[in-house]
């Protein structure tokens, strides 16, 4: 205790830039993760706007086809590994210790490393645009044989993925250990807030599949440079096997991006419905079953690779089975709101937006799970619509909900509610203008990842591009809200949202002290 106490009052505490570089404090690191994610969101967003600018009209106007392919590839990689995942880890850093009554993460020094690896990987990815031949252009899924060919940027991508993987694994180990070992007395597993549960399960998923991704890209690397032939057909390898191994990682990965979002929404909805979460235990079990099932559905990304019918049927039914626990969750959120005394502050708006729009994405997922349908729709804009409904109006909306929800706690100041609501409504309107037409484009047969298209797709594409610029610009409102909140927001109450009941609201001031829960609280 003594030692921790002394540190608290900052003897030899570095300030300025060195404070952030050397910090081992979970709150600082959470902040770093979230800012990093936001910058990556804007970077990836700029790439997306270039893509949409090219697709505004048929024909080639803005970029070359080669550069277009680089844009789609890097947009995917940056958003998945640079924006969504780090944002979720940022939430875990801020919230997990406060929610379970722990003083910090289990391994603060490793925590610092987990974060500072990210900018290295990000610089590697972004700078690969400027090497001879340009950035990787084979899609974020890195399929051979394309990925085995191509220039040095593919090696940079592989290296970046390795670093990102190491960062995620270290972060996950930290989170698991913190949750298992550092809960306050009385905080039993089944009393943990749902956000903590979802992150515990997500962290296990990360530890299980990030090493597999690392192995896969290592095989790509040795195929490229060290004469192995894992995926190189000319040397007896099998490019389809890459897809099997990649999606063994890839499908759990999409749940890594959505489970913490489920957690955030499960904190926000009860707070604004002023009712406890409906079916807490079933939520925990549903999360667990989704995680387990996510290991046996990967080949739904490969229905057109010529698998035997029996395998196609297996993966079709297994994929549909995942919709059951997912449905349980949606029903529980709706039941939590049912007859609650609801108010509609910005976090709640984003959470409700999440429930409605994520569910649309779930349904299109079910459509794609039907093998004969997927064979028609694979690699069309229908798939693009599907995964943006689950990732943007799913994961990203949950991140927004969480930011608005906890911003008063983190900064001790209120955000501008009017601007927040404006952010929500503009985002939601433009989001749907952007992505809803893609369903029709996909059903009509427009292929994804192609810089030009047939004339009959022109109108919907123009519409989508308008939506894209509207959506992109709306995100600047968030930046304004956050900066305004930090600089001049009104003082926030400690228990900002009276319906919220987790420890950070009931036991800590807003903002919380730099070292919180140095003496653990007792949970009844």
């Amino acid at each position: 205790m003594e030692a921790t106490h002394a540190q608290d009052h900052g003897h030899g505490h570095p300030t300025g830039l060195m404070r952030w570089i050397t910090t081992t404090n979970h709150k600082d690191i959470g902040t770093l993760y979230l800012w990093f994610a936001f910058i990556m969101l804007l970077a990836g967003g700029c790439l997306a706007l270039l893509i949409r600018a090219e697709l505004f009209q048929p024909g080639m106007q803005v970029v070359t086809p080669e550069f277009f392919n680089q844009l789609t590839t890097l947009h995917g990689l940056i958003m998945v590994f640079g924006a969504i995942m780090p944002a979720m880890v940022g939430f875990a850093n801020w919230q997990v210790p406060m929610m379970i009554g722990a003083p910090d993460m289990a391994f603060p020094r490793m925590n610092n490393w987990s974060f500072w690896l990210l900018p290295v990987a990000a610089i590697m990815l972004v700078s690969s645009f400027f090497v001879p031949g340009g950035a990787s252009a084979g899609g974020w899924t890195m399929y051979p044989p394309l990925f085995l060919q191509g220039g040095i940027s593919n090696d940079m991508t592989i290296f970046a993925v390795h670093i990102l993987g190491i960062s995620s694994i270290m972060g996950a180990i930290n989170i698991v250990t913190t949750i298992l070992n550092m809960r306050a007395p009385g905080m039993t597993m089944m009393k943990m807030p749902l956000f903590v549960w979802t992150w515990l399960i997500t962290a296990y998923l990360l530890i299980a599949v990030m090493p597999v991704l690392a192995g896969t890209v290592t095989m790509l690397l040795t195929d490229r440079h060290f004469g192995t032939n894992f995926f190189n057909a000319a040397g007896g390898g099998d490019p389809v096997m890459f897809q099997h191994i990649f999606w063994f990682f890839g499908h759990p990965e999409v749940y890594i991006m959505i489970l913490p979002a489920f957690g955030i929404v499960s904190q926000v909805i009860p707070a604004f419905a002023r009712k406890p979460l409906f079916g807490y235990a079933s939520m925990v079990y549903a999360t667990g079953s989704i995680a387990i099932l996510s290991f046996i559905v990967w080949a739904h990304h490969m229905f057109t690779t010529g698998m035997p019918t029996s395998a196609q049927l297996f993966f079709m039914y297994a994929t549909m089975l995942i919709a059951v626990p997912t449905g349980v969750k949606v029903f529980n959120w709706v039941a939590t709101m049912w007859r609650g005394s609801m108010t509609f502050e910005t976090p709640m708006l984003f959470a409700i937006g999440f429930v409605c729009l994520f569910t649309i994405g779930g349904f299109t997922g079910l459509v794609l799970a039907i093998t004969p349908v997927d064979i028609q729709l694979q690699d069309t804009y229908y798939v693009v619509a599907h995964f943006h409904y689950v990732l943007v109006s799913g994961s990203l909306y949950a991140i927004f909900a969480g930011v608005y929800f906890w911003l008063p706690k983190w900064t001790g100041r209120m955000y501008d509610e009017k601007l927040g609501k404006l952010h929500f409504w503009l985002s939601t309107i433009f989001f749907n203008i952007l992505f809803f037409p893609m369903h029709f484009l996909g059903l009509a047969g427009m292929p994804r990842r192609i810089p030009d298209y047939a004339l009959q797709f022109a109108d919907f594409n123009a519409l989508a591009t308008i939506g894209a610029f509207g959506f992109g610009l709306s995100q600047l409102i968030l930046l304004v809200v956050v900066l305004k909140c930090i600089k001049s927001g009104a003082k926030a109450a400690d228990h900002t949202w009276e319906g919220a009941d987790s420890l950070e609201w009931t036991h800590l001031s807003s903002p919380p002290p730099y070292h919180s829960f140095v003496t653990p609280p007792v949970v009844k």
Partner: protein, 175 residues
């Protein structure tokens, strides 16, 4: 406090072991998938590539013949004089040609068939007769003919003679 640290490092060690195992598991998936394909018979080398166009019940004899035109003192002969094939079956035979003179000469081989009507059922995929052949003094060439006898070859044809005659080609640009 020390106790808690102890507990943390125990979990850390376990999780690192899981990480390393999963890294290995990724590589293990390679033989694993190969095995599954083998056991379930969906391996690519198990799918026998069979020629469904071939008529195994029928045999046709092919005689290969080679001649040279009057003004072309070349040595020209088939390496295989006789072959039995099924209609629809893909075959390749070789011809040998030697320029016995002491000057560079250009020749072109012209095929003919006996019986003549078999010619339209004798499909050459690759043949030295498609192009002119230029031979330096004393030069020797081994040249392929790849062919398929078509399935609809009239039933009464049992033997086809393929006969090539090499003629000297007066330089095309000279004319």
């Amino acid at each position: 406090m020390a106790d808690a640290q102890q507990q943390n490092s125990t979990v850390l060690k376990k999780l690192i072991i899981v990480t390393v195992l999963m890294f290995g598991f990724g590589f293990l998936l390679v033989p694993f998938y190969k095995k599954i394909c083998e056991v379930t018979g969906i391996s690519k080398d198990k799918i026998a590539v069979s020629n469904t166009q071939m008529d195994p019940a029928r045999w046709v004899s092919i005689e290969f013949d080679a001649n040279v035109g009057k003004n072309l003192p070349w040595k020209f002969e088939p390496l295989t004089a006789h072959l039995r094939v099924h209609p629809g079956e893909f075959k390749q035979v070789m011809y040998r040609v030697v320029n016995t003179t002491n000057r560079t000469m250009v020749g072109q081989a012209i095929p003919s068939y006996g019986p003549a009507r078999a010619g339209s059922f004798f499909q050459k995929i690759e043949c030295f007769c498609f192009t002119q052949q230029t031979l330096k003094p004393g030069e020797e060439k081994i040249m392929p003919v790849q062919f398929v006898v078509q399935n609809d070859l009239p039933k009464d044809v049992h033997t086809i003679t393929l006969s090539y005659t090499f003629y000297e080609q007066v330089k095309a640009d000279a004319s």
